[in-house]
Symmetry: C2
Subunit: 439 residues, 2 copies
């Protein structure tokens, strides 16, 4: 009954027509999921007027890092992105990052770790990458936003989305592909009703992942060697963001309650005891070790994803596009904000208020697109005396300008650019009209 | 993270941008779901070369039945179907059904119950409706197939789908719309991993519904006043069809385990205690009484469907289309089967076997499209002596015929009709070629 079939379309002939029961576990490969993400990426890339460039900085002799660098180069090129691998010494890594930060032709930076023996030093290096080029989403600000469920960088304008760390986001994308996210529900709540166990609570993947899933509405059992924590947005997901609660539950208590089990245990020896799984659970492994025994898990799971590496690389490109978009958006919004202030200036010069533009200026200041400039904002406008022909004309132009300013913030970059000419014409005409009136 | 957004598309501006948390319970109306089903129905209707006609038989003074009859008339007409309401006396109902059964211009029959004081007599009336016109899916054969998870009427040809009873099917369609059916999984297994409580175990809706859902892979708690039964296809859904197990569980034990709660309690007084629901449960009510307190359930559910009546009518039209399709399919398959036998006859007359056609004949006999005819099947063919030019030509034609017969059963009605001419030409040529050889 599940599939929507046209009665007149050829009916699929099941191999066992009496019951039409196929394999009960659907195995989904990372390649399949990555393909669907890369198709989206390709579509979005076409909308850009330039070719995004990713710089990879390799400052170690680690074979894994090298392989990963080569693989990212290959994926970039295959998908229409520029990739520039810069092999540098440990001593030069800091300077290389700073150089790439300020290079306008670089849109994203990825640094291959580990570099230094001390993880703390690597973390310091991580924070050197400019926010607007941090394709891996590892900057403190991005991580903070993720935990706080803050999804935009420029509230209240909301033109720039906060970047999410690649591997946790890859797991999210896997769960979206598997339709665990229910798109019937409102964006931000689409895991409501789902219980998910995440085995791994590292700072790099496990904990951010648990937070992401809980912020999207799930009840998450986050498991590591120390025990189990529960991440949720509370009963009825009434809270804006997740909270963490300690519990005495054991892993074996979590399994029977979990719709989804996500594993990331870096150990060849570790295998999930599939007999404890809820019948029909969805199983996803992001560890490079196989945390599920393939044949065994297929006896119990409804869906099994054995690895997600290729999805992570696709997500990296997606993040790179987001960075490009954010950059273009910032430029466009800054320009718009300046224009709004200019509109206010023209009007206030003649003692008139233009509310829609003023609203944009206020928001732009809050979003960080414009500096506070108290003199402009302080001007108190007052209506002109009614009656004259010029007054009528001015009123008409003012209405046009108000309308334009109430529309502009809702437009996308291209549409905003197209309105530029109209805005210039209006401001000029208005200035003239004011001057006539005042004569 | 859940929605797939193009980075360059205008970003949706959440009303509360810090967290973008909308209402946590999505209320979905039957109208919305019915619309999407009726759109499918409209598409399928276009493929038919005639206008299906539904006959409604009203043999009671029941106000509800009258209203329902009027509503079905309205829905039929609005959606491009003919509807003929026949008001008859109780004494004439039997004859009226039999008349409609044999009337070639009638494609579906719906009888409005109750008619007689005894439910047994109404059940007898129900079974009078011809299988191929039973739009409500209440014939014993359909009900049997549903419980047995037999999805076709003409196994092993599998051209005619078995009809499902309207209200249980409407609930299935609701759950499909709500994406509880996961289309990532194989058809027939798409509820694997889902736990569903159905409160109502009537023969008309509750029990068939529990069976349908379990046959599709769910674990179903079927609840009525006598207690709880568990319907499943067993651990790992390894069985072809559901089994029923008794349990000592109480309703309150089922709630916390259930992803979905479906209610059909015919009582104004009955309300589900929403505090017992699993947080984020999906709640669907098919009773004409509201089994959930609206404001209360929205505090706990992720999705709430307050009623399904309009979906049931849409499903009725869908069933009517299926009946039309089955009728056309039967005609086409019968014709094909006769042609296959003719091909065998032509060949066997000359002592040659045509395996693909023979396979079709065997299947058609098993599916009931053709009668056994032992003399034809008993003919043992043998290859012709090789060498002559005529032999080569005959071989070529035989290969063509074999190919055609291996393709024909996979084609849809229209494609089968198109191949008719080719088949006639081939048989004629083959007969001639055989005769030349034999001279």
């Amino acid at each position: 009954m599940a599939s929507v079939q046209q009665p007149n379309a050829p009916t699929p002939k099941p191999s066992n027509p009496t019951s039409s029961i196929p394999d009960t576990c659907k195995v989904v490969s990372a390649v399949t999921i990555a393909k669907s993400l890369l198709a989206e990426v390709a579509k979005d890339l076409q909308l850009l007027e330039y070719k995004p460039k990713l710089v990879g900085l390799l400052a170690n002799e680690d074979e894994h890092a090298k392989t990963y660098a080569e693989y990212s180069a290959k994926t970039c090129k295959e998908n229409g992105f520029d990739f520039d691998l810069r092999v540098v010494s440990k001593a030069d890594i800091e300077e290389s990052i700073l150089a790439a930060n300020t290079d306008k032709n670089v849109h994203g930076i990825i640094v291959y770790y580990p570099i230094f023996p001390s993880p703390r030093q690597d973390q310091y290096i991580q924070q050197l990458v400019a926010l607007e080029k941090d394709v891996e989403g590892l900057s403190h600000k991005y991580i903070f936003n993720m935990y706080q469920n803050i999804r935009f960088l420029d509230i209240p304008m909301c033109g720039q989305k906060s970047i999410l760390p690649c591997t946790p986001l890859a797991v999210v994308k896997v769960l979206e592909y598997l339709q665990i996210y229910n798109t019937i529900m409102a964006y931000g709540n689409r895991l409501f009703g789902k219980t998910i166990t995440v085995i791994n609570r590292s700072e790099v993947v496990g904990r951010p992942l648990a937070a992401l899933l809980a912020n999207d509405g799930a009840k998450v059992y986050s498991v590591d060697l120390d025990g189990v924590q529960i991440f949720t947005r509370g009963r009825g997901i009434k809270n804006d963001k997740h909270e963490v609660a300690e519990t005495d539950m054991k892993l074996e208590d979590c399994f029977p309650l979990s719709d989804v089990v996500v594993t990331g245990v870096p150990s060849k020896a570790y295998k999930v005891d599939v007999n404890m799984l809820r019948d029909g659970a969805v199983c996803v492994n992001f560890s490079s070790d196989k945390n599920f025994d393939g044949p065994a898990v297929k006896q119990h799971a409804s869906i099994y994803v054995p690895a997600i590496g290729k999805v992570t690389i696709a997500v990296l490109l997606r993040n790179l596009l987001r960075l490009c978009h954010n950059r273009d958006m910032a430029e466009s919004y800054k320009h718009m904000a300046r224009q709004a202030r200019r509109s206010m200036d023209v009007c206030s010069l003649h003692g008139v208020k233009i509310e829609a533009a003023e609203a944009v200026v206020k928001k732009a200041i809050a979003a960080g697109y414009l500096n506070e400039k108290s003199d402009t904002l302080a001007v108190e406008g007052s209506p002109l005396p009614a009656g004259s022909k010029d007054k009528t004309k001015t009123d008409g132009l003012m209405t046009e300008l108000e309308t334009l300013w109430s529309q502009l913030p809702e437009l996308n970059i291209k549409e905003q650019a197209e309105k530029q000419e109209e805005l210039d014409r209006l401001l000029l005409a208005l200035d003239e009209s004011f001057q006539k009136e005042e004569k």
